[in-house]
Each structure stands twice: as C-alpha cells, then as structure tokens.
Amino acid sequence: MADLLEPEFLKSLQKLYLLIRRAGPGVLPGRHPSPARGRSAEYADYRGYTPGDDLRYIDWNLYARMDRLMLKLFSDERETSLYLVIDSSASMGCSPRKFSSALRTAAVLAYISLAGGDRVSLASIAGKLSGYLPPMRGKAAIKRCLTFLDELRPGGATGLSGSLEEFSGRLHRPGLVIILSDFLSEEEFFTALKRLIYMKNRLFLLQILGEDEISPPPGEDITLSDSETGEKRDLTMSVDIMAAYGNALEAHTGKLSEFCMNTRSGFFRAGTALPLEKIILECYRQAGDISRAVS
C-alpha cells in the first residue's frame, strides 16, 4: 500500500528526522518546556520565601549575600503526546496516492516524535474508530506504528463527527492531535473538533487531497460516483461547473481554515503532488506556532 516497512522508506525517516532537527527547535522533537514550574535541573527564576515552602529550594548563598530568603524556581519538563488520527474512509482511497500520502506523513510524524522522546498514539477512523494504538514511547515503538499504519486499508464512510467523539473518549492526557483527512464530509464535524480543543488538546488539521480533486480533469458528460455512498450524479463538465467546483473547494477549505484560525489550531492543505518533506516541514512549523501560541 504505502510500503511503510520497506527499507527505503525507513531510511528516509531518519533523513527527515535530521532535516527537522536542522530546521531548529520546535515542538515535535525532544522534551518540551512546560509553562508550569517543576523540578527539573534547569534554573528558571527566584521568588520570595513564603511559609510552607520546601526548605530544600531556599538559595542559601543568596541569603548569605543579601540576607533574604529566596526560593529557587526550576522549569518543569513534560513529554508531549502526539495523537495521529488517520481518516481511512473510502474517499481517501479514491484518488491515486492520497491514502498513501496520508500514511507516509503519519509515519514520518510518528517517527520524529518518538525519536524526540514524545509519546505517540495512532488512530484510524472510518465511520467509527476503526483502529487505535495506545500512546507509546521510544524509538523502538516505531515498528508497531509502521505495522499499524501498513495494515490500514481505505474503506467505509468518513463519519468524522462520531469517530472523533469516540476517539476523544480514549484520550487521558492532552496532547497534539493531528487529523489527516480530506475532510470531504457533509456532516457537521466542527463540534467534535471543538470538544478535542476543550479537552486541552492542540489541534492540527492536515487536509490531504488528490490532484484530481484540486483540479479535476475536464471531460464531456460524465457520471460521478461517490466512493463512500455509491451515489451517482450525471454531470456535464461545463466551464461554469468547473469554475463552481473550484469555488466550492475554496469555500470548503476556507471554512476549515477559518475554524482553525479561530481556535488557534493548525491547518494545512496538501496535494498529493506536494513532496513529503514540505508537508512535514509545514506541519513542524505550524505545530511550533501552535505550541508557542498555547504557551
């Protein structure tokens, strides 16, 4: 399918990881500073002693110089959980390389996160939560991730709303939720997305569309068949229909983009012709922005 277990792809994962590291500090790789003060070894600040504070954190040297009791503050370091939700509905398998592009992107993101020490969880949705891999840590977990992804096959309805509701029920710890889907669903799924945000998750929507969906090939009279519902519609591919389709696509994408902007979530529309590196870099950039915005 996506040949995720092929040696060539595995080698490319490492290359992409190095590429991301060179790109600069971000959110995905490694441990992430927490806005909360904790017990790490890294000094963060001082504050005055108040009764009840742990006497072990009093800076006695400073007391000797300034004759004041000051408490040392250290920054807290936490692991980030990355939740990769892959839409494996039939619509994802309709365009060539659409589903494989989603799987490869998910695999790379998982690898980079695991390599950075994050916890990674995978889920596939197709009308329901059709597959779930609980959060894992460590580079060694990549094999399970890849196997999980490699076994996914497109089929069934999208059903984003119900699937995400079900998925959110599995979350015990907030993290970064990246949803890889075409988002071509007639149902109202923004409520389910909002719920994820309310659960203190950071959201990133990666819309993957086939090239034939972005700019459909011209034709004369055709019958369009919905890959999920099987519904058919006769259509004459006139110039105005093509223009109207382009407008509808832009409007649909704009709605998603607007939602993400309002909720400080990330959004990126990727065509299957876009190289994987660019998709990953964009994800990395936007996820960093989200993280900074949230902190």
């Binding site: 090939p217 034709g219 019958t223 369009l224 068949s225």
Partner: protein, 625 residues
C-alpha cells in the same frame, strides 16, 4: 443556392436524432470521486444541468452535427447557377405527350403535361436572344411540330395547341429524331420534358447532348387502373368479358376502395365495390349480355386517383342478328344441308338481301362480287384468275392453319379427284396439294372471296367433318367479323383500325371521341385509320356499312405513374449526370456549378479538426477514473 436532390434533405432528421441520442444516451463515462459534496454544491451554484449548458459545452457534439449537416447537404447536391450573360443557344425540345402525363397529383392540381408545357414556356421565355428552338411531340410516333426557328413566340403558340394523347410515348424514337437534327445544328441541346415514368429512356444511358427534365410531383401518385380487358362472345350471342384492375399506387400507401360499374349503353347492369392494396390486382369475369343491336359496353372505376384516363374501358358488342346468305348456281344437297346447320345465317335463294354473303356454286362471273362471296368451282374473269388446265388424280390437300378460314381443319383430311389448275391473283392459298391451289382466299378493294377450285362432287370434302367448319369459318371471314384486331369492337390506343369499303371510290366518315370528323375515300389498296390516340368510341359511317370501334388505353406502363428511378421532383438529368436546375422553377440555363465537393471537403476538414481536438484535449480521449 438550390439542390438537385432536395429529397435528400430529409436526412437532416438524423441531426435531430443525434441530439436526442446525445441527451438520452445510455453510456456515460463514470468517474469515481471521493465525495460528491463539492460537486453537488457546484451543480447547485451553476443552476443545475440545463440543456443550454450541454449544448454549449459539447464541442464534439457540435462538430459532429456540423459534419453530418455538411454531408447531408452534399448528398442533396447543391449547386449555383452563374448569373453571367448566357450566349444564345439552340434547343431541341421534346415534349412527352403520353397518357401518364395526364396524371394529376393532388386535388385540383395541374397535370404533368400542363407543368411540362409551363416548363417549356419558361425555357423559351428565358432563352437568350438569338436562340433557336425545335419542338417535337413525343407520342407513339414522334412528330416534329416545328423545325429550328429563331421565332420562339411561334413555338410558344404551337405549344399552346399541343394536347397530350391517350397513348404511350416512344421517347427513344423522339430522341433519335432530335439527334438526326444535330447534323445541321451540332451545338444544339436536346431537352426531354417527361414525367420519366418510362423505363425505356434510362437515366444512365442518355447521350451527352440530352438533358432529361423530369416533370413529376413530389407526392407519390396513387392510381387504380384497368389494365386488362377482353371480350369473348359466343356465336349465338352472350359470352363472357374479363377485366383486371390493378392498384399501381406506390408501396406503403393505403389500400384503395373503389366501385366497378358496368354499363351497357346508358343502362347500369352491375356494380361491385372492392378494396385493393398497393401492388395488388383483382380480376373480374362477367357474363356478356346478349343484345340484339350493337351496344357499347363500358366498365368504369368510380374512384379519385391521379390518372382518370385508365379508369374506364369500353367495347362494342355486336348485336346478335342472323346474316343473310344468298345461295345461287348449281344445286348441291350437301352444300345446302351444311349451310342449314349454321343457325346464325339465313339462307335465301331468290331475292338478294342487302349485305348478303353470296355463295355461288359453279359458273363464270364477269367480276368479283362486292362484299363477301364463297365461290365454288366458279371462273372469274382474267386479271383475277388465270385457268391453265384441269388435273385429275387423287389429291390430299393440306390446310393453311394460320388463316381464319382454314384453321382447325387439318384434323379431318379429305381428297380431291379432279381440280382446276389455275392462278388467282392477290390471293392466298388455303388448301394445296401437289402445287395445286385448291382453295384460295382473295381480298381486293374491300371485297372478299373464298374460291374453291374444284367441284364439290369431285371431292369427298362435303362428306368430311371439316366441311361445315370450313363453311362456318369462311362465312365468318366473308362477313368481315374479324375486322377488330383486339377483340370484337375494341382496340388499344395507337393501333390502326382497318377501313372497309364496299367498292373503290366509296366514302367513309370517321368521327373521333372528341367529336372531330374526317372523311376517307376508298382507293385500290386496303386502308387503315391510324389516328387512334384518343380513348373512346370511334364511329365509321360509309354508304353500305357503319360500325363503331372502342379504343382503350390498357397500358400498364402508362398507368404506372411512378418515376422510373428513385429520385423525384423537378430536376434535370443529362448524359453526363445531373447538371441543371429544375425545369419548373428555373429553366436550364447559365453555368451550373455543383457544390457538393465543397461540402464534403469542409466535412473532412471538420473531421480532421475533431480528431485533433480529441487527441489534444487534456483527457486525451481516454477515460479517466
């Protein structure tokens, strides 16, 4: 621009079919998409899938419609007539005056003949100054109505007086006559104005100098016709008559109902209603009523069809009245008893009634008796008969079976023991043996005679069963009952009618069905009346005899009004192919430029463009999932 084959424009309906098939075609390329969500929105935004968009979009359909349109127009053979100055020319105009030209398409319309005359008038009117024309009427025998003349007005006036005949036309003979004139006028063009309902003048084997101007309505002519009619009277009066009615309407038309009415004189004796499908035929056989006086039998179809001429046929039924036979000369009981057996003859011996057939047994005559005479062992004057010798022996004569007097007699042989060896001038030998003419038939100056050149008692002929038959046939021939060639009192149009005179110098009046009268005087040789181009009753009245003859069309070819090839409408066909425009709306003239090749070329170019479009368009002509 006009079309030589406008009937081909019906193929334009194919364009309509192409559009219909396009809209309702069963096959559409099926394309799988992830979701119809965006397409539905686009469809609603664009205002649905209306017909206008389909037509606007489908360049391929429009191209194909154009190609089909061009091909159909090419099939209709478009042409242009150059409007430049046309040089003077010579024309030989052949006008078909046959019976089928009387056909009328539709109620109250003009006949084909009238249309043809109009077309010729237009041709003459539109001819450049200095043109010359010759006019030939193509009937059974072509007649030159006017030789080459530069005064086209005179030809136009002659044309006004031409009437169509109830006859068939020999167009081939007319063309030959016209071609004979080409020797003096080699540049002349022969125009044949005809309804082309003839197969004799084939469209494809016309000489190059001949242009056929077809005059026929676009409507399919429906026609019922009596195509066969014959009468078989019995010797004692009565008999049978037979006729066949055919529906010569084109295939696909409805069955026609008609009533066949039979009249004797003005008295209707029978009426039969029937229905006949196109191509069907119905025979009728009726008893011939016995009449005492000569009567006209008329059978007519009561129906409205394109050609009324062939709906009526007539025949003259002779009245059944015994003829008188004057028996003179030596008495012979065998002869008398044999004559007594013939009930249709009254044998008298003393007073000679008028028009009696004379039977003379023995003796010598100063001249040939007028009318009919049976001369038994009679010597005629020199000039008529030359006696050489009397020959004795036993002769077994052979009869000439082809003559009406001597047919059916060979079955009963007879012998002659003594006969005169003589020569009868202008005679035909009916029975001969050993170079002896034993019985002869003589016809001279309206008189007929049968000479038996031996005495009856010198042969066993009176004892033979052939004797009464011979007498009956001889008397019938002498009474001139065989004067009608197509049955008693009936011939077909165009056939000659023999004229019978009692003697040389006798006058005979003929009245045609149209009421015209003409007079003939008997000459030394037999005469025939040949102007039988009108259907109806011809009346002959002489000093000693009067009779009537019915003339009928009875020509299936003329009654069949369908054009002999598949095309219809008014157009001009030449030996080199179709060249000129219609004879009615635009007479042949000027330079005719056919444009079908332009349309075919344009269609090919469009086809090429369509191919390029299919190859070059983004879909590349292949199905896309």
């Amino acid at each position: 621009m006009s079309f030589l084959r406008p009937v081909m424009l019906w193929w334009l309906l194919v364009l309509l079919l192409m559009i219909l098939f396009y809209f309702f075609r069963l096959y559409r390329e099926e394309r799988h998409v992830g979701s119809l969500l965006l397409w539905k929105r686009a469809w609603e935004t664009a205002g649905g899938d209306h017909i206008g968009r389909k037509l606007r979009l489908s360049r391929l359909l429009i191209l194909e419609l154009f190609i089909a349109l061009l091909l159909v127009l090419a099939m209709a053979r478009p042409f242009l007539v150059s409007s430049g100055k046309v040089p003077a020319r010579e024309m030989i105009i052949i006008l078909d005056v046959s019976a089928s030209m009387k056909a009328i398409a539709g109620n109250g319309g003009k006949s084909r003949f009238e249309k043809a005359v109009m077309a010729v008038q237009k041709l003459l009117k539109g001819a450049p100054s200095g043109s010359q024309a010759m006019l030939i009427a193509a009937g059974l025998r072509p007649v030159t109505l006017r030789g080459f003349s530069g005064d086209l007005k005179i030809i136009s006036e002659i044309l006004e007086r031409v009437r169509s005949e109830d006859n068939r036309a020999d167009l081939t003979a007319a063309v030959r006559l016209a071609q004979a004139s080409l020797r003096t006028q080699p540049e002349a063009v022969i125009y044949v104005f005809t309804d082309a309902a003839k197969s004799e003048l084939g469209m494809n084997n016309l000489p190059p100098s001949v242009q056929l101007v077809r005059i026929s309505g676009r409507e399919a002519p429906e026609n019922l016709a009596v195509t066969t009619f014959n009468i078989r009277p019995d010797t004692g009066g009565g008999g049978k008559f037979f006729l066949k009615v055919e529906n010569l309407s084109p295939p696909g038309t409805q069955a026609r109902e008609a009533t066949l009415e039979i009249k004797i004189g003005s008295r209707k004796i029978r009426e039969e209603r029937f229905s006949l499908s196109p191509g069907g035929a119905k025979p009728f056989i009726f008893d011939l009523p016995r009449v005492r006086e000569e009567q006209i039998l008329e059978a007519s179809l009561k129906t409205e069809d394109a050609l009324a001429l062939d709906n009526t046929v007539r025949a003259v039924i002779p009245g059944h009245k015994n003829r008188d036979v004057l028996l003179t000369g030596e008495e012979n009981p065998f002869l008398e008893s044999a004559l007594a057996l013939l009930s249709e003859y009254n044998v008298v011996k003393d007073k000679a009634p008028q028009n009696a057939i004379q039977v003379i047994n023995g003796g010598r005559l100063p001249a040939l008796p007028p009318g009919g005479s049976l001369l038994l062992n009679v010597i005629l004057p020199e000039g008529l008969m030359q006696e050489e010798d009397v020959v004795a022996g036993r002769f077994s004569p052979r009869w000439d079976e082809t003559h009406p007097v001597s047919r059916f007699l060979n079955m009963a042989p007879f012998s002659v023991f003594q006969a005169r060896k003589l020569k009868v001038s202008s005679s035909r030998t009916l029975a001969s043996a050993d170079n002896l003419s034993l019985i002869c038939a003589l016809e001279k100056g309206g008189s007929r005679a049968v000479t038996v050149n031996f005495a009856l008692e010198d042969s066993d002929l009176p004892l033979s069963p052939a004797f009464p038959i011979f007498l009956k046939q001889a008397l019938a021939w002498l009474s001139m009952e065989d004067r009608d060639t197509a049955g008693p009192g009936m011939i077909r149009t165009g056939q000659p009618i023999p004229l019978y005179f009692a003697g040389q110098g006798e006058k005979l009046q003929v009245m045609t069905p149209g009421g015209e009268n003409c007079e003939f005087t008997a000459g030394p040789s037999p005469a025939y009346y040949t102007d039988t181009h009108q259907q109806g009753i011809y009346t002959f009245k002489g000093k000693h005899a009067a009779w009537k003859t019915a003339v009928n069309l009875l020509d299936r070819q003329e009654s069949n009004l369908a054009v002999s090839d598949n095309s219809s409408g008014e157009s001009v066909v030449s030996g080199d192919g179709i060249k000129a425009e219609t004879g009615i709306s635009g007479p042949p003239g000027g330079m005719i430029r056919e444009l079908w090749w332009v349309f075919v070329l344009a269609a090919l170019l469009l086809l090429f463009a369509e191919t390029i479009y299919i190859i070059m368009r983004p879909a590349g002509g292949r199905k896309q999932a």
